[in-house]
């Protein structure tokens, strides 16, 4: 589908007669020379840069651009001459009355002949997302991590041989591009602005998604090669540029490999915190986006990771679970939540309870006391691999003291009423430790 049309009108007539305007067709329709798509994933937004060569005459030129059946935001339209910019004056962009999806640039040219121009605009309907597949080694110490991006074009416009760039980051948007594209008048109208609420309804209905690259039209005679994706930081965003060009007709999507790293060291991390996760430990797959983990080249965009494990010598797999993945900057820790487990067990038990240090007023009423609780924490790793376990305990008061004993690993105070124990558990092992928690109440809080 080719909906974007450019027409160059050598208009001598002063006025454009409205009813016939859309039919003015006497003109060259220069095709796209180059197309660049910069696609965002935090919003339904794509910046399109469209290079075309126009033949201008000296004097006044009118350039007509129409975009019926697309999802272009007409207020974002811009045109820039790439050469002779000082000789070409763009007076204005007019959205003529009673004609939809059409704009006319009024240009005064000091030169005659071919002028390359660049049109830029924002469109909705093209999106991309990242997803991942992780394959753990049998010992679960390393993982092969494959990243993919999937680009989907539902914009109503075919983009052929487009340089495709993907933006990772969260942009601030005031209006949805899809809504701006549906407006009756590009900038609305003074007074009440009725905006059609049906966005993309018709487009979504006929949405057909094709899963793999095999289904895409292929360029005959070329041996496909794996494409590189270059990654670079810009402002608060990351820009991924896919090598070469892509053709993504409307309605299609395309999956592209983003990276493939084998042997990423991972830690089997289990977390236990009753207040947050309930009575079962939750399994996390932990690694870091840095050099030592063979990553760290660029941030990792958020997405879903499906984790598998190689279970035997013939590379059979088991499915370990899936986790959504937030955006991970370079050098940040990654923790993938694979859900609660039963093969690592944490059992906290209250072993002793007593009260002490009562204080009384002159009439003999109780004004303060201490409560002393002894807890035993038993942990079991029933797995064949070593794991790391983090246990958090929350106290319901800010007035407390704690004494640890036994095999409690690394201990730290997390905040005013939370502490954390970190333990390493070898395969098939048990550990236990105790803590005595003293909490202060009433007047006994005064000095603690």
């Amino acid at each position: 589908m080719k909906y974007l049309k450019i027409a160059l009108l050598f208009l001598v007539v002063g006025m454009i007669s409205q009813p016939s305007f859309a039919k003015v067709d006497l003109v060259t329709l220069p095709g796209r020379d180059t197309t660049q798509l910069t696609i965002y994933n935090s919003a339904d937004l794509t910046l399109v840069r469209d290079g075309r060569a126009l033949t201008l005459k000296e004097g006044r030129n009118q350039l007509q651009f129409s975009w019926a059946n697309t999802l272009i935001d007409p207020t974002s339209l811009e045109m820039l001459p790439k050469t002779n910019a000082d000789k070409i004056d763009i007076f204005d962009l007019t959205y003529p009355p009673r004609v939809k999806n059409l704009g006319v640039w009024n240009i005064k040219s000091g030169i005659q002949g071919k002028v390359p121009v660049e049109l830029t605009y924002l469109t909705s309907g093209i999106s991309w997302r990242a997803f991942y597949m992780g394959t753990l080694a049998p010992d679960e110490k390393t993982m092969r991590l494959k990243g993919y991006v999937r680009v989907t074009n539902n914009s109503g416009e075919d983009y052929e041989n487009a340089q495709t760039r993907l933006i990772v980051g969260k942009v601030n948007l005031l209006d949805q591009i899809a809504q701006l594209a549906k407006r009756e008048h590009p900038y609305g109208r003074p007074g009440a602005v009725p905006i059609s609420g049906e966005i993309q309804a018709s487009l979504k209905a006929k949405r057909v998604l094709m899963e793999t690259a095999e289904a895409m039209p292929s360029v005959a005679g070329k041996i496909p090669e794996k494409k590189e994706i270059t990654k670079e930081g810009l402002s608060e965003y990351f820009l991924y540029t896919i090598e070469g060009t892509e053709t993504i007709p409307t309605g299609w999507s395309k999956r592209l490999p983003s990276f493939d790293v084998a042997g990423v060291p991972v830690v089997n991390l289990y977390k236990f915190e009753q207040r947050r996760y309930g009575d079962r430990p939750v399994r996390f797959l932990s690694f870091k986006n840095d050099d030592t983990h063979k990553l760290g080249e660029s941030p990792i965009p958020g997405g879903m990771l499906k984790a598998f494990r190689i279970v035997d010598d013939t590379q059979h797999l088991s499915y370990e679970g899936q986790s959504s993945f937030k955006y991970i900057p370079v050098d940040e820790d990654v923790e993938l939540n694979l859900g609660p487990v039963q093969n690592v067990v944490v059992e906290p038990k209250l072993m002793d309870y007593r009260t002490d240090n009562y204080t009384f007023d002159k009439k003999g009423q109780i004004t303060g006391w201490d409560e002393i609780r002894t807890f035993r924490i038993e942990v079991k790793n029933t797995r064949e691999v070593a794991v790391r376990l983090e246990i958090k305990r929350n106290f319901d008061t800010n007035y407390w003291d704690l004494k640890n004993s036994g095999d409690y690993g690394n201990f730290e105070k997390e905040d005013k009423d939370t502490v954390k124990y970190a333990l390493q558990l070898p395969p098939h092992s048990n550990k236990e430790f105790d803590y005595i928690l003293t909490t202060y109440h009433g007047h006994r809080q005064d000095n603690h």
Binding site: T75, Y95, L174, P190, P329, Y399
Partner: protein, 374 residues
Amino acid sequence: MVGLTAPFMARARTTLVALPERDATVIRLDNPMATLIEEERQLTLQKGLNKIDFSWKGVSIDADSIRLQIIDHPGQVTLLNVSYPPNEAALVWEIASESDFVETVRISYLLGNIDRLITYKAVADKAETAIDFRSYLVLRNFSGENFDNAMVKLDDGEAFKQAIDHEETKRLLFLKAGNVPITKIWRWDSAQLPWDPETLNNKNVGIPVSYRIVNNKTSGLGGHALWGGKARIFQVDGHRSTIFLGEDVSGLVPVGEKMELYIGDSRDIVVTQRKMKEKQINIRRTQHKSNPRIVLYDMDEEITAKIENFKDTPAVLTMIQHIPGEWKMVNCNLEYSRKDANTLEFEIDLPARRDTGMAVVQLKMNYHRLNLRP
């Protein structure tokens, strides 16, 4: 043309004087609430009483705003009265003239459904130190009236000639300034953003990022106030192209004031804030022998914040902390300024990430909230 009958043509009710085509027309857009039209016409007046029809069918004119000004012979030509015919968008002027004159009059009125918007486009350089700043004027005419050759007047600057038809929208470049310096601001407010990103189950906390532009001569601006409007911000990418950074809407920015445009969120700066201590101290109780009640106490509180910069460039984080009520700082390892009684602002220099890992800055502040009552 749909809805575009010439509304100011003379009507044949009292055909003493025909209202001729207008000459100079000015569209005044200086008031964002209403648009004032001023048009001049030449009336051929006869000695004695003249009646002039003025009608505006299909055009939303505020009838009470219509004024007629005599330009050439104000002493000899007098507007006597104005009458309104029934059920018509029209009026009739009765004008007394002391002689036969070809008189220039100026008719002015408030016209509805015609206005202007301002939009901005800014393209930042790769280092984010300056922007190429453009402002566009968007004229929207849905008034029912065509203007073939009007002077459009904004609140300052030169008036310019412009034709605009009914239901037409035009976008014109209106202001252009290159190399306008910008300051990039990251802002973390403890009252607005979550304290502990780990508890958010795989969601990033975005720290709002803004560009600050000063409307003054040093910036290459400062000629007049910058009107409020939507701004779209782009950045050159070093590959002869740009990326879209974000958009925001600005209010009116008078000369000398700052425009702050929120472009998007940074996820490369991570703040983890925790309250490490919150204890009652200096407790004062009633003198009751039995069950003395607490009447007054102070609260000893300690806040720590770990700020990690994962960016490979340095940044200055503006951190806002709030302490309610009466308080005194006991100890704080970073400098701050008091923005008001309960708001503290820290300007925290964050070095760039190094090969050894992200850059970390720790804030630790211990303060007492004073004289609290249960």
